[in-house]
Symmetry: C2
Subunit: 593 residues, 2 copies
């Protein structure tokens, strides 16, 4: 059977360099696979990951059977160094847009933006299908919709873990609780004509303080249903060992809080609602009032309170405006900004721009999150500035005050042993992480030929007894959100941004008499990000002289302005490189009067 | 005494936000401190760190006594996210330039670029003083000078560890070996009129396989001299525990090499010469030929061979061109590029651009270095691509195949206990790291009032029995190297680069009749990095219409071109923000004919 098996041991596809991927894949066309040896009577279930398999974020995938399509998650990805100025990257739904009438549902696994954040941007393209979500996920999705008044009214079907429901003719779904860092995180068993597909999304295992795993029964029950394929989160699959118990995190936080003689400021992600609930509990136990700083922190806590996930005695939660009414050692502030995000509450506090809080000597600041790759320098800046201002700083490199929401190696194997799938597709994470999880699957007893590493946009065909990665691919390249524009920032624009950032630019304007071809005035030069022109007048004068020379040499010739522009670009670029060893973008403009 | 004591417990200075620092400090003037209560007869020894105390890199400091100045190290710093397009950041020597006739020597502690890399840029400003360096450091400095034909001939005095020599009237120096990752790393005891100053620069402790520390006698001997102040490397001062033994690293590498059935490619820093020597030894032991890929790898190995730090049997080292003459399991390639640097050898191998090597299935690739903060994404890319191409990848997150050259907590305390200084100044590292090392010093028994956290450019005055941080500061702000320019890239240029990278720019050219004030032609619009203009003609047309409207409304008024430019900038910026929610840099140009 001449299909491309893409498992870890014979994967030979060479990855295109990252930067050109978007451009190349723009030109991608749909290749119909040749199929042989597959029963003509059996229709495959197609599985397509649209995002999350070559990045962290942008999680989105779909299943297609005959004329029915079910999506799982619609997340966004934060911009990267290579995509400067971009707001978000979202899943590419150009394939789905053409088939929107076939979409029977979008299932959301949990309330994190890398799983729900793309909804306002793509829901119209999907034909606004029913969205299946738990009450908390629903509330957070609806809260976000408020920022998108032009997005259609969503059609959300409330589900709860334990539910089993019929979505369409060919799809039924069972939902089961998976431990993660936000309440109501959901695993999905999709009952399809070819078998049961389990899609976990993000998960970890909860341990008690003694290291005993909790809630394994849920996974066991799923395994007892008989599982065809398991799609499994690989974010931490490289990490050795087991999930750090949230109970230990709580114990360590409590110890730090007890030691603290002044105010306590805990910075964490507003999406880590389980942690936030726990911190509030500890504060209450120690007799501290709790208050919140940062828009998303307030919004999420309010939702969790309404749904009963955060319960406090009357008087525990106070307004930020009232903190001066209490002694310092009776205050705990929950704040956004643990990653050093420039506009988040903690950064405003540090920079003296917060309207109510400044750091003072004796404050204890706890950074209860891991550092997202790329944020190391800004977190270092946060720690330096807090320490300089007299705060006592705790972060998770020093003491276990954060536990990831993603299962490491041993937890992966534990779960795979309970679910006992026939086939495994590691999802969520860069190739190397997924390859590590493929090895975990093999160590858990899955035959290596049944473990598949896919790329975004690849199409898997699932038959009752087969799993095939077909030669068909569908567009999965980056769609970028920048301001109001969706998908209109192209690689050429990003390339310009990257180049402008490197050496800046120079616009050379030659204003020319249409008839004589002579300069009507001295050439104008505009520059940004190259050198400080005010202090470099001699260089400017030399550039003007060069331009005059170019035009003088053309005198009497019947040249087009394009030719003049080419000469200006090449000769001035070379001149500047020779003089400065820099290569700004040189943009010649010829104005003919 | 109204001096500012800047030790960890009463440091109240608020750090200026990083981005504005350069600008502000430009305007800094020399403030003469008021001194009281210090014996009029005692001249202090001044100590000034010029770099390395608020960053990693750019290590440079000097001591001044009466009319004599001794420098230690002259390193460079690699650019940061906030300094796009910059080649290097180097120490600010504007204070020293004015006093170059007083400079009696520059002592180099070891051959790493963050300690020697600024020499070609600043040696002229220092008056080309004698440079004190060991043979290996000297050879690497001279090799680099070849790239700077206009730099003066250096005056290098060869020293070796154990030497004691008189530098000038007031300064003598003893050199002692400190363990680091490059041979001939040197600690300095500066014998001065006020006492012995120990300046370590980078160091760690070597352990044997059983965990027994090696070579502590050197530190003990230094302690026996009686030490006034210790300046001590803080890069890893936050890390718990002891240095990982290089013997264990070697053992783990040997195990990986033994398991490997194909070629072995080890990527590491070319500056980790101790590691490189060890890898070559293991390869030889296992009967593999060794070859090198990457310019700096070849250059450094050749220097280390000449000086006897790399010794091999004849035939062990082969030319890269000859690898096809041997079986895959007889080859080991040492390559640059462990950080995913775009032009390094490993990246060219991965991208299929290397003239002699491609990755093939069964290759083992070992990344034997830590990931420098900021490089996480490119290292991830390296791992992903290697795994996709069929290589077996080992990196130091998974197995101990790298040991840092910087001492962690327990080693710090061990050394401080042996040196027994009266005063301690943690150097090398961000504030938080240095604050952590201040705590280490206190735990090692140094009274907390004798531990000083300084900033770059602060001036410490050392008396026989006192250590004072004076109110005097000298310029220590960034000096940037960009192409041929040194120090001519100003904050305004960098700010433009950062803004250009975010949303791009738009140049609006209005060509106007000087007399009538009317447009002579349709406005020209040039844009880069904003939106793709070819596909946005309607927006362009609207901008032109707006400009025409602005000029029409001014008709008959005697306006200056500056007023017109202001209107164009403001109105078009607002219009674009309204239409796109983006804020490109808008540059209006008015050409009057």
């Amino acid at each position: 059977m001449p299909f491309r098996k893409t498992n870890i041991l014979n994967h030979t596809q060479t990855k295109r360099p990252f930067l050109t991927q978007t451009q190349n894949e723009n030109k991608q066309t749909l290749i119909r696979p040749k199929k042989k040896n597959v029963s003509k009577t059996e229709t495959p279930l197609k599985f397509v990951p649209l995002g999350g398999l070559e990045e962290i974020g942008r999680n989105c995938s779909f299943f297609e059977y005959k004329n029915e399509i079910v999506l799982i998650d619609a997340g966004l990805q934060f911009p990267e160094e290579e995509t400067p100025g971009i707001d978000y990257i979202i899943p590419n739904v150009s394939y789905l847009r053409e088939k929107k009438e076939n979409i029977v549902g979008l299932i959301l696994t949990h309330a994190h933006y890398d799983h729900i954040g793309a909804i306002p941007y793509i829901i119209d393209d999907l034909g606004n299908p029913p969205i299946y979500a738990t009450p908390l996920t629903k509330a957070i999705v609806l809260k976000r919709q408020e920022d998108f008044p032009n997005s259609p009214k969503l059609n959300i079907v409330e589900i709860k873990n334990g539910d089993h429901l019929k979505i369409s003719e060919y799809f039924e779904a069972s939902f089961f609780g998976v431990p993660h860092t936000v309440p109501e995180s959901t695993g999905v068993v999709l009952h399809t004509p070819i078998g049961n597909i389990v899609h976990f999304s993000d998960f970890r295992i909860d341990y008690d303080e003694k290291g005993k795993p909790q809630g394994l029964d849920e996974f066991k029950k799923v395994g007892q249903m008989g599982v065809h394929t398991l799609m499994v989160d690989s974010t931490n699959a490289e990490k050795e060992g087991y999930t750090l118990s949230e109970k230990i995190v709580a114990k360590n936080l409590e110890e730090i809080f007890k030691k603290s003689e002044g105010r306590i400021i805990v910075a964490t992600f507003s999406s880590l609602l389980d942690r936030i609930a726990q911190i509030i509990n500890i504060a209450e136990k120690l007799g501290r009032k709790v208050t919140f700083s940062g828009y998303s922190m307030k919004a999420n806590v309010s939702i969790a309170q309404n749904l009963g996930y955060i319960k406090t005695k009357p008087g525990t939660i106070i307004a930020l405006e009232d903190i001066h009414k209490y002694k310092d050692n009776k205050i705990l502030i929950l704040s956004t900004g643990a990653q050093g995000e420039p506009n988040a509450s903690l950064m405003r506090i540090i920079n003296g721009e917060h309207r109510l809080i400044q750091i003072k000597k004796g404050d204890t600041v706890v950074l209860s999150s891991s550092v997202i790759p790329g944020n190391e320098r800004s977190v270092q800046n946060v720690k330096d500035n807090l320490a300089r201002q007299g705060a006592i700083v705790y972060h998770s490199d020093l003491v276990d005050i954060h536990s990831s929401g993603h299962a490491p190696k041993e937890d992966q194997k534990l779960v795979m042993n309970l679910i006992k799938p026939k086939f495994v597709v590691p999802i969520h994470g860069y190739y190397f992480m997924r390859a590590a999880n493929a090895l975990n699957a093999i160590e858990a007893g899955i035959p290596k030929e049944n473990v598949f590493l896919m790329d975004n946009g690849q199409v898997a065909e699932l038959y009752k007894n087969k799993f095939i990665i077909s030669e068909e691919t569908i567009p999965a390249f980056y769609v970028m959100v920048d301001g109001l524009g969706i998908g209109d920032v192209e690689e050429v624009v990003l390339r310009d941004r990257r180049n402008l950032a490197k050496e800046g630019m120079l616009v050379l304007i030659a204003t020319i008499d249409k008839r004589s071809g002579q300069l009507l005035k001295s050439p104008d030069i505009i520059s940004r990000g190259f050198i400080y022109l005010r202090e470099n007048q001699p260089l400017l004068e030399e550039i003007r002289k060069k331009i005059r020379g170019i035009i003088a040499r053309l005198h009497g010739q019947d040249y087009g302005s394009d030719y003049l522009k080419t000469l200006m670009r090449e000769q001035i670029s070379n001149f500047l490189y020779h003089k400065t060893r820099r290569r700004p973008i040189v943009i010649p403009v010829v104005i003919e009067i």
